[in-house]
């Protein structure tokens, strides 16, 4: 699986031999590859007007292009804000709750993200083909898809250590602009242009997987909530800046502590483990039917819904497993 940003074909359908060669070396004679473009066909076409575009079939004959439009940017942030508002609206009656939930479209985005990641995984696992994923910039929906696909495909990404590695690779080093994207979250009135909860969407999707496969992830909800918190505000330098370059310029590694170092301490680590975990060597294919995708109450209702009884249930599970 590869990732990139969009090819700069532009309105004049420029070609780039090097790019074609690069993609050519990946495929053997007669092999087929898939390009998953996270923009709609329409949007991808329009991108040409501003210098971007898609890989034309004629120049990349062995690659089949699939469009799976995914929300990003401003609309995704609005979706997030609407959901949070719906959750905390005390006057909302039951007969309007689902409508409000729906009009935030957040769950639709979760469904789209999971579906696309599964598609990428399916291409690799079932079709045994190489996959190239890109959107426009290659820093948002692209990373969402590639990271999620790896959790689905690769059991080592489902271990605590493996998941940390995945985050480092596919989000941090790959250049997701955390500083811009995770600035103010849902409650702030300052609607920043570059803010968008892609990382949260990724965590939500991982949570959906953990709900559907309660034994297959070595970590639990607590880790996901911790990551969410730290992406927005952290005592650690892990999610600072927008790229490796910026981190280097700001000397982040020299002047801050790593979240992972703290997390991996034996006393802390314990708290993040899933007591039900058992290594599952197979691919985990989630259901993306609406009934299977649920609101992540632990995050969106965190301060609204008392969690005592659910915490007690979790403690009971841990106790049972430990006793054994």
């Amino acid at each position: 699986m590869l990732r990139s940003s969009q090819p700069l074909t532009g309105p004049n359908r420029k070609r780039c031999r090097e790019d074609e060669a690069l993609l050519g070396t990946i495929l053997d004679e007669g092999d087929r590859g898939f390009i998953i473009d996270t923009r709609s066909a329409q949007a991808a076409k329009q991108a040409r007007m501003t210098g971007g575009g898609t890989e034309p079939k004629s120049s990349y004959p062995q690659w089949r292009r699939l469009h799976r439009p995914m929300e990003r940017g401003r609309p995704l942030q609005e979706s997030f804000i609407k959901l949070v508002e719906a959750c905390s609206d005390p006057s909302l009656s039951m007969d309007r709750w689902l409508g409000r939930l729906e009009s935030s479209r957040w769950l639709s985005h979760v469904k789209a993200a999971l579906s696309t990641a599964c598609l990428a995984a399916q291409c690799m696992d079932r079709e045994e083909s190489n996959v190239l994923v890109h959107g426009a910039e290659g820093t948002d929906t692209t990373l969402l898809v590639t990271a999620l696909a790896q959790v689905i495909l690769d059991p080592s990404c489902r271990t605590l250590a493996g998941f940390q590695g995945l985050l480092e690779r596919e989000w941090i080093e790959a250049g997701h602009p955390f500083h811009l994207r995770c600035a103010r979250s849902a409650s702030s009135h300052a609607r920043l242009k570059q803010e968008a909860p892609l990382f949260l969407l990724f965590l939500d999707c991982v949570w959906q997987l953990s709900r559907q496969f309660p034994f297959s992830l070595e970590f639990g909800e607590h880790l996901l909530l911790t990551l969410f918190d730290n992406a927005y505000a952290s005592a650690y330098g892990t999610f600072l800046c927008n790229s490796e370059k910026e981190r280097s310029l700001c000397k982040v590694k020299e002047s801050t502590h790593s979240l992972w170092a703290w997390l991996n301490q034996p006393e802390e680590r314990q708290k993040f483990l899933n007591p039900l975990y058992s290594h599952n060597a197979l691919v985990i294919w989630p259901s993306v039917e609406p009934q299977s995708i649920q609101l992540w109450q632990g995050l969106f209702l965190r301060w609204i819904r008392p969690s005592r009884h659910l915490d007690e249930a979790w403690e009971e599970i841990q106790r049972l497993v430990k006793e054994n």
Binding site: H67, M94, D95, W97, A121, L276, V288, E289, H309
Partner: protein
Amino acid sequence: VENVRLLDRLSSRKAVLGTLYLTATHVIFVENGSETRKETWVLHSQISSIEKQATTATGCPLLIRCKNFQVIQLVIPQERDCHDIYISLIRLARPVKYEELYCFSFNPKLDKEEREQGWKLVDLNEEYNRMGVPNNYWQICDVNRDYGVCDSYPTEVYVPKSATAHIIVGSSKFRSRRRFPALSYYCKGNSASICRSSQPLSGFSARCLEDEQMLQAIRKANPGSDFIYVVDTRPKLNAMANRAAGKGYENEDNYSNIKFQFIGIENIHVMRNSLQKMLEVCELKSPSMSDFLWGLENSGWLKHIKAIMDAGIFIAKAVAEEGVSVLVHCSDGWDRTAQVCSVASLLLDPYYRTMKGLMVLIEKDWVSFGHKFNHRYGNLDGDPKEISPVIDQFIECVWQLMEQFPCAFEFNERFLIHIQHHVYSCQFGNFLCNNQKERRELKIQERTYSLWAHLWKNRAEYLNPLYRSDHSQTQGTLHPQIAPCNFLYKFWSGMYNRFEKGLHPRQSVTDYLMAVKEETQQLEEELEILGERLANLQKSQLGDNKIKNKQQDRSKELGLSTSNNSLANTPQEYCNDLKSFPSRSPSQGDEEDSALILTQDNLKSSDPDLSANSDQESGVEDLSCRSPSGGGCLPSEDSGKDSDEAVFLAG
């Protein structure tokens, strides 16, 4: 009929060929050829509707919808056969005599004594005693011993000590269907009680001294409070409309010391339509999130569930926190009243959260108090307007509570699903007829078997591993969050999508934890035995000999760990028009011996390690997404408009 195709409802390309059999009690589909010869059995009683669809090139489609939400799509090659089957099923699914029902021919191979014992498992006398009655304030009353006062009530009910036979009879004449106020639940701790009745025949201005005295008697039976609540579970408008028909509700001016309260729950017709709408949403092919959520909201189903729950919460609060008795009624006092009284009791008393307790609760507030099972669930062919998912809603309330309080219930989701299944199956005699009188006339207990005994025998499957009777959640009253709480009500896909295996979490935590618990217990027992042996050895080998330590092999190495690996599944077709296809699901609906459900594996969900046999990953035994090598799947946008990618994978 041979060469019938059974379609996977979600993905019409996946069809299985087999033979269809019709017996006196079941429809059976047997697959051809496969080594497993998988069978799908459907009880006629479960059939809710049959739809003959337009003949196509491939044959005549027949859609069977069941009351337990199973949907079966068959394609019959010949139109004539299809028509015959259709006509037959229509007749078979609408029995006219009780004797046609399965419970009269069902034979679990128990002797007469075992059958009797089965019926004695749930004893309401014991239950009332457990509650603390009879006592100084409440007594048993047999004025209805020949059903002479009220034919839908049991022969024995509990009434306040100060209610004489005269008062009871007088009150009954002033109540719809003569269902006079009687005790449903008595709270030992503070003497408050929940009583139930039907609406008074008050019209606009009618009064009845005895009925007023009856309510006074209820108040006096609770020395801790000087008033009682009267809760009318109908919407105010409906109740007022009833007055024009000579019925209505209690006027606070006429009845001393009552506080009257409406808690609007809609009637059986609204509920029937609500369920219908929700099932239509469930039948959508590849719905988007939007379709689903809007559909669910438009059905109003969760809103109704919440209304029932809110009523129960109000009553539980009145009893537990205020120490005030409550009289509950609706119109006839056998639908909403039953729902609300049972929910309140469940919240108040931890006993009803045990397996036995729930059976007792249903037996008391539903069976004995004359809930019209026959009319509501269509045992026999009857008026379709009487059909309504009343007990289904109560069962769902229990599930919603279980989701909020995971440690508080002794039983698990499967217990609830199986009870619901048997309300419709007529395999056992508990839910036949409309009241105790009819059941006794038919001699149900001598001619059929009790569901409770059957469930009790299999109780290991129904346990909740997180339940501990000494846990704080299991003590005392449950306090569900009141507001905001809309988000607490979830769609119960385990029930309404019970047979769509692809939808459910692939791995059952409940089963795993039960297995863990069992294993821990076994190991502890072994440890004890070894400890004793060690002690004996030490005694007999006075000192100097070394005692060989027996290392115990963990030979029954967890079917636990292996099961997890194999519980992965096959991928869905991640495109809009093809839903997920079957794979392992914990809530199999694997049912009793003779009521096997459409499952690709007749595995009991309680045996997780059996699933290790099939290669989940590359295709579950039969119904696999064995897509032709080209993939055959058309990923496109959710809205399904993307035609230019139509055949991308097939090339």
